[in-house]
Amino acid sequence: MSRRAFSLGAMSILAAFLSGCASNRELPMTTLAPKSDLGQWIYHLFIEVTLWDALILAIVLIAFILAVFIFSTRVGEAAPPKSAASDLKLEIAWTVGPALVILMISVPTVRTVFRSQPRVAPADSLHIRVIAHQWWWEFQYPDSKVITANELHIPVNRPIRLDLVSSDVIHSFWVPQLGGKRDVVPGQINELTFEANVPGMYPGQCAEFCGDSHANMRFRVMVETPEQFAEWTKLQQAVPVAVDQITDASVADGAKVFADSPCTSCHRIDGVSKGYIAPDLTHFGSRTTMAGGIMANTPDNVAKWITDPQALKPGALMPPLGLRGQQLNDLVAYLESLK
């Protein structure tokens, strides 16, 4: 037990040092302040390995410094050294020593490997299908039939099981504060299981190079209380107001612009269009960010995006639509009205 107490103590000192460099708010993507079980396991393992590393480093450093500074004489000043060219005991020591350290590290490693990759999902877990696209994220909730983009809402303290699939190239799903990443490989379903335990907003990002706008493939995870999550789910399940019942004139005009535009072939809005290769816009207005999570969802940004997507996100598949003036404003108003 005392070893455990010691390592816990040392861990907390190191943890305090590492996370003390900057608080959580300043570093929203830190891996050093995990907010999920998976993140915690990894973090503890990381601290443990870091301590062993520090021990080895200290030994090497001391030996190195002593060796260099004791013996750095000028040529000709000292007689040629007589020390041995080998020493069996020493050599055995520095073979067996590191081997023991490796053993100490590998046991918790293997344990965590198996613990973090359960073959079947925990009983009450929430299944979510994550579809990675060049360069945005789609989240589907098979149970509630909700489909959203770039913003993943999950309840706190409930196991989450993500089925990761890709529609084009290899991506990687990574929310640093919620644990390790998992590649999203086309043709293959990868799983990621974790349980977030602190509500909050956690930014994530694609971590596998996936083409021109790899840097612009970000997203957010909203960890909510069960009540908030239920409310959000209900909102997302709601059918949007039918086009002919829209009251606001600008919004109604915008709806017409949308319906007549090429937007419909790629984007889906429940009851309006059936496109599926681009993000679902049914509840676009309820999201905080847009365009792969690279900017805030404000009317200004939406207008800029529609005018020239490639300027904001190189390589983006959405063509500039050539909309201007009132038409553009109406369309923006319509999109923002889709709560």
Partner: protein, 824 residues
């Protein structure tokens, strides 16, 4: 040599003189080739450095617009590719190993001097191919790792990735040729008394590295060939919709990629193991342990490639296995670090720039090794992989390890190579700039990684807390760039005005210091006789270290005497220059360009040039097929001819090539969706061709037996039979392929079709090359000199032929007879 004849007057005095431009283009001297490698590698080192600085400027602040996203992706791709393939590897292997191996083991040249020249020219063509994109619509931009399926034409249209694919295939082939040469040289050409356990540690490192290269590059080549076929011939090796998986590329790539880390690190260890003892004036501590740990590292490195793929979902069992194996590598690596420190311990240290860099390497590499243990732990790796933490880690390994070792090596061997000393003052300045710049650039990356910054992003958002450290790194990267500028200035200054170097400026231990600086063309006037480890040291100080001490104590270490350096008393026949390596490599470049622009006439032009130059190289010397017609330059070791060791090493490398193809076949056979499967294969027909091939092997050995008893007629008969049976085999294969094509199975049909045609087709290509080789021999056998003494030429062709036969034994079993067995 009983009497002492008057030394010959030898022109030129050293290897750098004479010959003019043509002399350099046709040189087969390992020292000149090393210099050529060095010049091109230093050029690409500079270029790669500039690319890195552009990358750093772009990351100065969130939303920076110094370069575009595309340009950024091109830069990090080319930075990685050129630093590894065109700068670091050529410096360590092409320059250091090429120059120093023969000198350290007391040989006059490498085993195959013209193949050595060939490997340089081919590697240059590879480098040109990689950079031709400058002029044709952009550089490659899929990362040095080129993960499929992003590299498919669907996601990366245009020429850049075509150049990348072919450039890497070509560069890889040249590396295989170069290291094959080193391996054979080390096995067969050591001076008398130079047992394996007396070789300098650098030679050990290169020997093991050569084995690594020979066995690690074939999987990469196969992976690249698949990509090439996908991009040009419509196959689906990495195309998901056909049932294939892009993960295959990752396995093939990392099967090469992890050994590649050691292909770079081991020679670096070798350099450090030379520099540290020299400047500590002590023998290397724990020599056998050091040699053994190199072997262990190399062996383990084949079993750890999966640790690059923890995030891809290989399953907990594979994760755990790869994690533990990866950690094990820390043990032999630790042994090396401790042994270096123990070498320094108690030494009489001479603090030169070279030693500074070597000591720097020991520390920085320790850092890199320790963070490596972290990623070896699979769960931790899930947080660190593809983040800046990994960027920090591998720069500590590749820069802190390999580049520091290269810098130590440059300062150490520069006097030997150029005959001039580098400025120590500028060197120390460069060292401190490097230390500050390097640690300032890469140490903060650990924190950026832990704070969640992913790799390979051309821009990042504000408010993530990454800005300050990025700015610090950019500033330090500029300092690092300055350090290299100082080095280039130092080099130019040294060549122009540097102090003339004595033969042994550092009181060295190995044989390269026993010859003049720069060395004469023939290296050694007399082949040295080796009496122990540290051969030259023993000559200077005796086994007890008592001899010559007074000279050392007066601050002037003993030097080889004028008589030792005198020109040889008898003529030394060195290999003659040859233009064909250059022509052959131009053929390679032309053919590759033809493939890329899709102009088949150009491909044929290049291929014809290539084949003609290859055959010309074979006929260039009176002794057919012999690399060097000077028995002194290519002695045989224990009845094992250099060429025989060479062809066996090549066969060993081919084993991995075919294993990769067979693995792909087995994997994809199980994933085949739709289209004809293996049941289409016909046993009676292939049984016949199998029989033909087996009998051709019999004919081949009978031909060898005939020539060995000097019976030329029967040799021709049996050789003719072999060729005939080989042609029968090829004929059946051609019939089979056309038959399948008519049945609806083509290269593009399905996964079975593509992997079957690729595997069997490559085997067929080997048979065709064998037939060509045997036919050449058959014609050559009408020459006057073709008698029993040339039986080795027949034996070599035979070894290749039998190897092709045993590959068919495997293919016949796994592909044809096991057609009903399900794949993986």
């Amino acid at each position: 040599m009983a009497a002492h004849p008057k030394p010959l007057h030898v022109e030129p005095a050293n290897y750098l003189q004479g010959g003019g431009v043509i002399g350099w283009l046709t040189t087969v001297d390992h020292k000149r080739i090393a210099v050529l490698y060095g010049v091109s590698a230093l050029l690409f080192l500079g270029l790669g450095g500039l690319e890195a600085m552009a990358i750093r400027i772009q990351l100065w602040a969130p939303g920076e617009h110094f370069i575009s996203a595309r340009a950024y992706n091109e830069l990090f791709t080319m930075h990685g590719t050129s630093m590894l393939f065109l700068a670091v590897m050529p410096l360590l292997l092409g320059t250091f190993a090429n120059f120093m191996l023969p000198l350290q083991i007391g040989a006059r040249d490498v085993a195959f001097p013209r193949i050595n020249a060939l490997s340089f020219w081919v590697s240059l063509m590879g480098a040109i191919l990689l950079h031709l994109g400058w002029f044709f619509g952009g550089l490659p931009d899929a990362g040095w790792f080129g993960y499929a399926n992003l590299t498919e034409r669907m996601y990366s249209p245009g020429l850049p990735l075509d150049f990348w694919t072919l450039g890497l295939i070509v560069a890889g082939a040249s590396t295989i040729l170069a290291t094959l040469n080193f391996l054979v040289t080390l096995i067969t050409m050591r001076a008398p008394g130079m047992s394996y356990m007396r070789m300098p540690m650098f030679c050990w490192a290169i020997m093991i590295t050569s084995i690594l290269v020979l066995l690690a590059f074939p999987p990469l080549t196969v992976g690249l060939i698949f990509l090439l076929m996908d991009r040009f011939f419509g196959t689906h090796f990495y195309i998901v919709s056909a049932g294939a998986t892009p993960i295959l590329w990752q396995h093939l790539f990392w099967l090469f990629g992890h050994p590649e880390v050691y292909i770079i690190a081991l020679p670096a260890f070798g350099v450090i193991s030379e520099v540290v003892p020299t400047f500590s004036r002590k023998p290397l501590f724990g020599y056998p342990m050091m040699a053994y740990s190199i072997c262990l590292i190399a062996f383990l490195s084949y079993g750890v490639w999966g640790h690059h793929m923890f995030a891809t979902g290989m399953g907990p069992v594979a994760d755990a296995a790869f994690a533990v194996t990866s950690m094990l590598i820390a043990i032999p690596t630790g042994i090396k670090i401790f042994s270096w420190i123990a070498t320094v311990w108690g030494g009489s240290l001479r603090m030169t720039t070279s030693f500074y860099f070597a000591l720097g390497m020991i520390l920085e590499f320790t850092f890199g090794g320790l963070s490596g243990i972290m990623h070896a732990s699979a769960p931790i790796d899930l947080q660190q992989t593809d983040s800046y933490f990994v960027v920090a880690h591998f720069h500590y390994v590749l820069f802190g390890g390999a580049v520091f070792a290269i810098l130590a090596g440059i300062f150490y061997w520069w006097p030997k190579v150029t005959g001039k000393m580098l400025s120590e003052r500028l060197g120390k300045l460069q060292f401190w700039l490097t230390i500050i710049g390097f640690n300032g650039t890469f140490f903060p990356m650990h924190f950026l990684g832990m704070w969640g910054m992913p790799r390979r992003i051309y821009t990042y958002g504000a408010g993530l807390g990454w800005t300050h450290l990025n700015q610090l790194e950019t500033v330090c990267a500029m300092i690092l760039g300055l350090a290299f500028l100082v080095m280039y200035i130092n080099m130019v200054w040294s060549i122009a005005n540097g102090e003339k170097a004595p033969p042994d400026p550092w009181d060295g231990r190995s044989l390269e210091w026993s010859v003049a600086s720069p060395p004469p063309v023939y290296n050694f006037a007399r082949i040295p006789e080796v009496r122990g480890r540290d051969a030259w040291w023993i000559v200077k100080y005796g086994r007890t270290g008592s001899r010559g001490l007074a000279a050392y104590m007066s601050g002037k270490p003993p030097q080889p005497s004028a008589a030792d350096l005198a020109p040889p008393a008898e003529p030394i026949h060195m290999p003659a220059p040859s233009i064909f390596p250059l022509i052959l490599s131009i053929g390679v470049l032309v053919a590759s360009l033809g493939v890329i622009i899709g102009e088949w006439r150009i491909v044929i032009l290049g291929a014809v040039t290539l084949v003609v130059a290859a055959i010309a190289m074979g006929f260039e010397y009176p002794t057919f097929g012999q690399e060097s017609h000077d028995p002194m330059a290519a002695p045989s070791s224990g009845g094992t001819d250099v060429r025989k060791v060479g062809i066996w090493s090549f066969i060993g490398s081919e084993c991995l090539f075919f294993a990769s193809l067979i693995a792909t076949y087995i994997i994809y056979k199980g994933r085949n969706i739709g289209g004809p499967g293996a049941e289409i294969l016909e046993i009676p027909l292939t049984s016949f061709s199998t029989f033909a091939l087996l009998m051709s092997s019999l004919a081949m050995v009978l031909a060898l037996a005939a020539i060995q008893r000097n019976d030329r007629t029967w040799m021709r008969v049996w050789l003719g039979t072999t060729i005939g049976l080989g042609l029968v085999f090829l004929g059946v294969e051609a019939y089979e392929f056309t038959h399948f094509y008519h049945e609806g199975l083509s290269l593009q049909t399905d996964l079975f079709g593509q992997s079957f045609f690729t595997l069997v087709g490559f085997h067929g290509a080997h048979v065709s090359i064998g037939v060509l080789w045997l036919a050449t021999l058959w014609f050559a056998s009408f020459g006057e000199k073709f008698d029993g003494s040339r039986s080795l030429s027949v034996e070599l062709a035979g070894l290749y032929w039998h190897f092709v036969d045993i590959v068919w034994v495997i293919i016949f079993t796994l592909v044809y007879l096991m057609q009903q067995v399900k794949g993986a």
